[in-house]
């Protein structure tokens, strides 16, 4: 879990590292939308070339991307199989009851696989090149327009950054409680599901008590340090829109338009 949230960031100074988090966040989102417009070999090919170019620009070795795929591999296989077995049309090679395998279904399965790969790759690029703090700041910038409808954007961003900051603290505490309960003879690893859920109670109760204590002390400390509300504050860190962001957007927009032209209508 802590690896999932923190160990993912790889320090670096590449083109992608230097881009502002808000623009990376929006670009990833935009890219996922274009993926759903792709429907033939040319469109998928173009997007694959683009993503390989992005990976190259991030300066991160391909091994890290494979690691990003591993936890999702069963979901991918399952979806691809469904696609292969249930889609109809084309030349049928094999069929059994409701299941059939045809050339169209194999091609569709392949597309789904590439689609998954593309989405995982772009989100991995985002998390590998951006610190969680920068992502929280990016979210704040992206959501800024919502301030007009009195959505508490600044509060949300502050909450997000404090929550991220406390993840390792709570992980440490969980480890301590886990060991303390183990030394008293609680068995977390084995037994029936019911037994395991019961074993989690002496773990969760002290963890929650601890978290609430942290929250209370933290709010006192924040108040003592002059915190009033999250709106009337200046910002120490600012991620400015840079030339690199503009250039990246031009490339991505161009590819987006290209996709609309070369897709099967």
């Amino acid at each position: 879990m802590s690896n999932f949230l923190f160990g993912r960031y790889l320090p670096g100074n590449s083109w992608i590292h230097q881009m502002s988090p808000q623009s990376k966040l929006m670009l990833s989102f935009y890219f996922v939308i274009i993926i759903f417009f792709a429907n033939n070999i040319w469109t998928y090919g173009t997007l694959s070339v683009l993503i390989l170019f992005v990976v190259l620009m991030s300066g991160v070795s391909i091994g890290y991307f494979l690691k990003g795929i591993r936890p999702l591999i069963w979901l991918i296989i399952f979806t691809v199989l469904l696609q292969i077995l249930f889609s109809s049309g084309g030349h049928v090679y094999w069929h059994f009851g409701p299941f059939s395998v045809s050339d169209t279904s194999l091609i569709n399965g392949g597309y789904i696989f590439v689609r998954f790969l593309l989405i995982i790759m772009i989100s991995t690029v985002l998390t590998l090149t951006t610190t969680s703090l920068a992502i929280a700041d990016g979210v704040q910038t992206v959501l800024k327009p919502l301030k007009k409808v009195h959505f508490p954007v600044d509060t949300l961003a502050l909450m997000l950054s404090i929550a991220l900051r406390f993840v390792p603290t709570l992980m440490d505490e969980m480890e301590t409680i886990l060991n303390a309960q183990r030394s008293r003879g609680v068995d977390f690893g084995s037994g029936s599901l019911r037994h395991r859920i019961q074993a989690a109670v002496p773990l969760l109760v002290p963890l929650f008590t601890g978290a609430i204590n942290h929250a209370e002390n933290l709010s006192t400390a924040m108040e003592a340090r002059g915190f009033t509300d999250s709106e009337h504050r200046s910002k120490y860190r600012v991620y400015r829109w840079q030339k690199k962001d503009t250039i990246s957007w031009i490339i991505f927009l161009f590819v987006g338009i290209l996709i609309l032209f070369i897709r099967n209508n």
């Binding site: 924040m222 003592a224 120490y236």
Partner: protein, 277 residues
């Protein structure tokens, strides 16, 4: 000397709990290091929170640097006071060292360029500049307290309150933090209030106030306070290390005319003993 903090006839109790302070009065002199000592539950931490306006007073008055602690003055008062709390983990708001020091400045809407200058200066003062991009999980308790002190120095307050700030640190870390605060106090002419149950920390103060069950038992220079060890023991406090050493020597037949000496005088006395033998 001016009384930078005046506490006048305050009474306070937490909801549904017995009265903690009843008509308590005390003063803190400007430029001094005042130690407030007492057992757990004696109300010393509550006192610190009342001074900073973190809890609301029931009756009586607290004046901080000519400002009465009330809702109107609360932010001016918090600009004058920097507090270091007990648990290093629970006062670290920022995601990294730098961000944490900037937190107080952000709250006061200090412009960014100025903020970067102040953060760098403050972190250098506490020797944590090299650690500026670390996350709190990768810092020791002592390092986190240093960052907390940098966050206070950044706001240039007049008063620093240490609320059991060293109680979760090991002995060396404790001494390091106290030395650091002492240096900052001298460099910036600050007033320090240290709330503690560590007698040795109190022994280094200019003035000691002993609190027991919500009232002041004694206030005096450490030399006078620690002169009467039986009195300290009667309210559940232990004797400082130097007094314990003197007593241990007494048991071995080396009599001393004193019950308490500070470190320097104790060393001088032992040297004299050794040379006259």
């Amino acid at each position: 000397m001016k009384d930078i903090i005046q506490i006048k006839n305050i009474s306070f109790n937490y909801p549904d709990q017995p009265i903690l302070f009843n008509n308590l009065s005390m003063n803190v002199h400007e430029g001094e290091w005042t130690a407030i000592i007492g057992q757990n539950g004696s109300g010393k931490s509550t006192l610190a929170r009342l001074i900073d306006g973190l809890i609301v007073l029931k009756s009586g008055q607290i004046v901080v640097d000519d400002l009465v602690v009330n809702d109107d003055n609360i932010f001016d008062i918090r600009n004058k006071i920097g507090m270091v709390f007990q648990n290093p983990e629970d006062q670290f708001v920022g995601a990294t060292v730098e961000d944490d020091v900037a937190f107080g400045l952000e709250n006061r809407q200090v412009p960014r360029e100025q903020m970067h200058e102040i953060v760098e200066k403050s972190l250098k003062q506490v020797g944590m500049w090299e650690f500026r991009d670390r996350i709190p999980a990768n810092l020791s308790g002592g390092q986190k307290q240093r960052v907390a002190i940098a966050g206070i120095v950044a706001l240039s307050p007049k008063i620093i309150i240490l609320d059991e700030a060293t109680s979760m640190l090991d002995p060396r870390g404790r001494q390091d933090i106290l030395d650091l605060v002492y240096k900052i106090k001298q460099d910036n002419h600050l007033t320090v209030i240290s709330i503690t149950h560590d007698i040795d920390e109190a022994a280094g103060a200019d003035r000691v106030i002993v609190v027991n069950k919500g009232s002041i038992v004694e206030e005096d220079k450490p030399d006078n306070i620690f002169g009467d060890i039986s009195k300290l023991k009667s309210i559940g406090l232990s004797a400082p290390f130097t007094s314990q050493l003197i007593m241990a020597l007494k048991k071995r037949g080396i009599d001393s005319p004193y019950q308490y000496l500070n470190d320097k005088r104790l060393i001088a006395w032992i040297k004299k003993l050794v040379s006259t033998k």
